[in-house]
């Protein structure tokens, strides 16, 4: 089994961070170039060691290593394991995650009224509340939001939105966490 260290970019550096708690032993040395997918060390959890590979989309040169001097360093979730200097590395072609957002830009947006976990259908295997291309009217159920273990029905409508609109994109994946104001639906007015 392998684990992937999540990449957190800050200015010209990129921190590869632990995806859980465990005892960390690095395999890389300062100055080495690390690319996404490459093994950077191992994390021991309850006596089992698992390989940790670099996540993200960019390569860089190692400038700092957690626990470089002592093996099996206890680390928390989110701790920076290896820090890369991006200026010294090689940029890897990154597929822009913003592509979908840009394509639907400029239209109407329906946003989340509160934070919570997003459910686009009433239950597993049930049809979705909203589908792309569908024309919805005020009062139409858009999703369920799970807030503090209780479910709340979110209905279409609100200031600046027309009585009826056509759904051009659903911006949130099932089971994802949303914050107030996060775009749930991209819409266009219907004549």
């Amino acid at each position: 089994m392998t684990r992937t260290a999540s990449a957190r970019e800050h200015d010209a550096t990129l921190a590869l961070c632990a995806d859980g708690v465990g005892l960390w032993t690095p395999w890389v040395a300062a100055g080495q170039v690390v690319a996404p997918g490459q093994a950077i060390g191992e994390l021991e959890v309850l006596g089992v060691s698992e390989r940790v590979i670099a996540g993200g989309t960019r390569a860089g040169r190692v400038v700092a290593i957690a626990g470089a001097r002592h093996h099996r360093l206890p680390v928390d979730f989110g701790a920076a394991l290896v820090t890369l200097d991006l200026a010294l590395g090689v940029a890897i072609d990154a597929a822009g995650p913003d592509a979908t957002a840009a394509a639907t830009g400029g239209g109407l947006r329906f946003v989340a009224p509160s934070s919570g976990r997003f459910y686009g259908r009433p239950g597993p295997g049930k049809p979705a509340f909203v589908t792309v291309g569908e024309v919805i009217a005020v009062g139409h159920t858009v999703c369920l939001l799970e807030v503090m273990k209780t479910f709340h029905r979110v209905t279409y409508g609100g200031a600046g939105l027309p009585e009826r609109a056509k759904v051009t994109a659903i911006a949130i994946a099932d089971d994802a966490d949303v914050n107030p104001g996060d775009v749930i639906l991209h819409l266009e007015a219907v004549p």
Binding site: G20, V21, G22, L23, V45, L46, G47, P74, D76, F77, G78, A79, S114, S115, G116, P124, V147, M148, K149, T150, H152, D177
Partner: protein
């Protein structure tokens, strides 16, 4: 000589109970280590405390991940782990994994947890120990026809319940013979989907009734005590709002007999630590009211503070000492149960909007006057605290003690009037309406109706 206590304890929980456990650790000179999710790492209650970040906000990858929790205990050099309530507190796998990795689980042994975790085995064990149970099938039902035969025998209406159920799911009511087959099939289907276990059993449906539970405590050497009962009848959607002790409607002879039987049952199943035997008080339509066993919670409960205020015991300190191998330091005769205690759970919910949960930032927070010790407030909240949307909505518990019920109510109302919370709505106003209602004062309510609100 008593065995030495632990030096460091991992608190595998959050919020109010985490603070409660830390208080007991502080009193015993033990260093508590808070296992937290990313959402709680900067919460005021973890300030100046040792912390291990388990994972992201989502509980499945933090507070509910058994491996992360045990690894956190190991690498934080904790020799014991307190699971609190909710989350993994009744998970036998956590207790087992702790044992494998040399961490003492502060709770009952895995076999007692597993026994009480299965609905039918728990019921059978408690019936054998002498507690009254709700009439029904002897274990899971093999078929709809078996369900029908059993329902005819116990009498309608009946409730079909998932063997591995919880939270009100996998339950169906049948009020007449013609409804049993559909109820059986539906309960089975829901149970399969929700719990991965389609086994269903049947009980006579007791409508209304009052929720009365017994706090028990046992050590490793066969000694056990009770710390009185708690009446938790004031509920909304199976969530307790108010708990009190003693129960204002329980006849003295029924109380004495049931408390003694509960202690015997605790010993009979080899229980260790704090536990709660939840019972249903069937109203005395056909004569004497009777307490029937519902389930046993193998952990500390939110409302343990009610029993603490009546007895003067510190149940969390007792839990820790028991886990370290200390014998119970007292016998039943040494457990005083005096006065009347009421607890209100204050949640971040809007009672005027259907009790909608309301996460957000608390800008001002002031506790009521403690009235010379008659009021206790348990909380993790401080000004500036952000109530995260990921977990339950408990803000604090206010516990009031009086010489009798009327005095406890009066003190509680004064305290609730003084509690200040700005930034999120709270359930304080609902509690004030309940406590002031004639229905509450005259005991005219059951688990289906909220006095003063329904």
């Amino acid at each position: 000589m008593s065995p030495p206590l632990f030096h460091r304890i991992l608190i595998a929980n959050r919020g109010e109970v985490a603070v409660r456990i830390a208080r007991a650790c502080d009193a015993l000179g033990i260093t508590p280590v808070f296992a937290v999710s990313e959402a709680d790492r900067d919460a005021p209650y973890t300030r100046d405390r040792e912390v291990v970040v388990l994972g992201p906000a989502r509980a499945a990858q933090s507070y509910l991940d058994v491996r992360r929790v045990v690894q956190a205990a190991v690498q934080a050099r904790c020799s014991a782990l307190h699971p609190g309530w909710g989350f993994l507190s009744e998970n036998p796998l956590l207790a087992t994994l702790c044992a494998q990795h040399g961490v003492t689980f502060i709770g009952p042994p895995p076999h007692a947890m597993a026994l009480m975790g299965g609905k039918s085995p728990a019921k059978r064990a408690m019936r054998d120990a002498g507690l009254a149970v709700i009439p029904g099938s002897d274990g899971p039902l093999a078929s709809a026809a078996a369900a029908r035969a059993c329902a005819d025998a116990v009498g309608y209406p009946v409730l079909l319940k998932a063997e591995s159920g919880g939270g009100g799911r996998g339950m169906r009511i049948a009020r007449a013979p013609g409804e049993v087959e559909a109820a059986f099939t539906d309960a089975q289907g829901e149970a399969r989907g929700a719990f991965g276990d389609e086994r269903v059993f049947l009980e006579r449906l007791i409508e209304g009734g009052r929720h009365v539970e017994i706090q028990v405590f046992a050590d490793r050497y066969g000694a056990a005590i009770h710390v009185g009962e708690r009446d938790c009848t004031v509920q909304r959607n199976h969530q307790k709002l108010i708990e009190e002790s003693p129960s204002p409607v329980l006849p003295d002879d029924v109380r004495a007999r049931t408390l003694a039987t509960a202690v015997a049952a605790t010993k009979a199943i080899g229980y260790v630590g704090a536990g709660t035997i939840e019972m249903l008080l069937e109203s005395g339509l056909e004569g004497r009211p009777v307490l029937r066993f519902m389930e046993m919670n193998t952990r500390l409960q939110v409302e343990h503070s009610v029993s603490e205020q009546r007895s003067g015991l510190d149940l969390v300190i007792l839990q820790i000492k028991t886990a370290a191998g200390h014998p119970l330091p007292l016998t039943q005769a040494d457990v005083p149960l005096d006065g009347h205690v009421i607890e209100c759970r204050i949640n971040a919910e809007d009672p005027d909007a259907g009790f909608r949960p309301a996460p957000g930032r608390i800008t001002d927070w002031r506790l009521p006057d403690l009235q010379g010790g008659a009021i206790r407030v348990d909380t993790h909240v401080a000004p500036g605290y952000v109530v995260p949307p990921h977990y339950d909505s408990l803000l604090c518990k206010v516990i009031a003690k009086g010489a009798d019920r009327a005095e406890a109510i009066a003190r509680m109302l004064q305290a609730l009037g003084e509690l200040t919370c700005v930034g999120v709505p709270t359930t304080v106003s609902a509690h004030q309406r309940i406590l002031a209602s004639a229905a509450f004062r005259e005991h005219r309510y059951d688990t289906r109706t909220i006095p003063g609100l329904s």
